[in-house]
Subunit: 318 residues, 2 copies
Amino acid sequence: MMKVVSAIKRVPEDWKQRFQNRFEDIEFQFCHGIEEAEEPLKQADVFVTYGEDLTPERIQTAENLKWIMVLSAGMDKMPFEKIEEKGILVTNVRGIHAQPMAEYAISMLLQVSRQAKTLIEQEKNHEWSRQPVMTEISGQTMILLGTGAISQEVARLAKAFRMKTIGVSKSGNPKEFFDETYLVDDLSEVIGEVGFIVAALPSTEETRYLLKREHFEKMSDKAIFLNMGRGDLVSSDVILEAVRDGLIAHAVLDVFETEPLPEKHPLWDEERVTVTPHVSGISPQYMGRGLEIFEENLNVWMSGQGEYRNKINLKRGY
Amino acid sequence: MMKVVSAIKRVPEDWKQRFQNRFEDIEFQFCHGIEEAEEPLKQADVFVTYGEDLTPERIQTAENLKWIMVLSAGMDKMPFEKIEEKGILVTNVRGIHAQPMAEYAISMLLQVSRQAKTLIEQEKNHEWSRQPVMTEISGQTMILLGTGAISQEVARLAKAFRMKTIGVSKSGNPKEFFDETYLVDDLSEVIGEVGFIVAALPSTEETRYLLKREHFEKMSDKAIFLNMGRGDLVSSDVILEAVRDGLIAHAVLDVFETEPLPEKHPLWDEERVTVTPHVSGISPQYMGRGLEIFEENLNVWMSGQGEYRNKINLKRGY
């Protein structure tokens, strides 16, 4: 009998039931973390994991292992060499962060543009004042660094708010929901006169410290910069100086060079910076959406028909 | 020579120039309020106003007056009887509140759902905690009381967030961006199991205290109720008791039975109520959008061709 072992903690009971009912020819073993999964893994055909608990040794001793389902998008810690050597299929849940992250971006741009902090302060003080100027996000121009699934979902919502959307990517190729797309090399030329700059880039050699003081100098002094990709896209010092020098109006930061952001870091208190604790991708629906992709792929696995969703190219690692 | 008199304060210089340049056959006189406009009004063919400064006497003495352009949507203070008697055309800017109000609604639902107050508090305390549970607004169901221009714009944005939208109106007729529409009489039957209840109703005999305790009892205890229409849709006591009894999760209120909301009113401090000072319709673009409608209508007026936008039926008063 085919055996699926999961190291995912707190899989809801109804999901466990659902798998058991829908796949009667499979034995499911839901473990609470890798310690519990360590032994069962040795007999597993399929392993469900967040991808941070796999070592070459574990792969080696899991003699029947044919498929690793990673319930995450980041796979920095996967021992791909060993996995490839054993010819194991890897799939992940790439794309499921797009919806919460797009919500995060729109919600934070609204929060800053509509002066939510001031209104909340007024509420605390029982102060009825209609003075705070609430600019609309509708009709503005947004530039997105990266045109992947997350940026695309942000751009889709931005279009609903009647914004003009500009995408910047390695290829510069046109993509749905972007009015214009450019090459990263042309960033300096298109970054001016834009209301919102939204970054959802992964950390790669090409994106590390891609944004520099010179880019902020070209931005509009009314611009809001939002980073929810990786903290090493731009140094904190560059951001701090950019807002202090009035190069931009506000920075919304969900990711940092060091996380958690140290308690004494100056970003916390800077009035024109909003700090959130890397929450953009968090969603109560996360596990459900991930397990849905697993179920989809399990159907492909069992029937031998259809295509796996998010099959990983082991050489590239994504 | 045709004469246009405006009592609108602070019309931007570039707009004054634009009118002067585009309508060379018209004499424009831009006054700072009704005191300044009082005399010129007597010779005016067209009067531009927010609609709160007109008395039957002023209409009587304005012998040439043929058209009143109201740069507002509310016209409770217009002396319609006298206006009709003199056969004066009235147009207004109905519809221009839709965009800022729809932004307000989405922004407040995001603020509450994504725990913005808690995150802002954490930021103040330099606290890096990812514990606050941010529910998504995406995919929820929204019920809108009223299916007019404002509700429709909210529903349009809600659809972009992949929500199911239900409209409740006097006619119950289907409208774009509403998945389902019902009669007001059926409200009690459809108000349960809904994540968001959004009210943008005007104050009329039919809407006054339309919402009662019994409606809140039918709502989901996870529901967020948002009122940005008129404060007399539901009494503050009913709202206070509804949140205190846990009938709903949160109320977002931009309008109140008494405005400004008195400093000692219990709504200010209620944790599950968010108070904003009647700001949903405020937009820095307001005057520009209003003057655009005026310009459009002025073209109709001068050419005698086309239809007036927002021509008011004097008998109905809207």
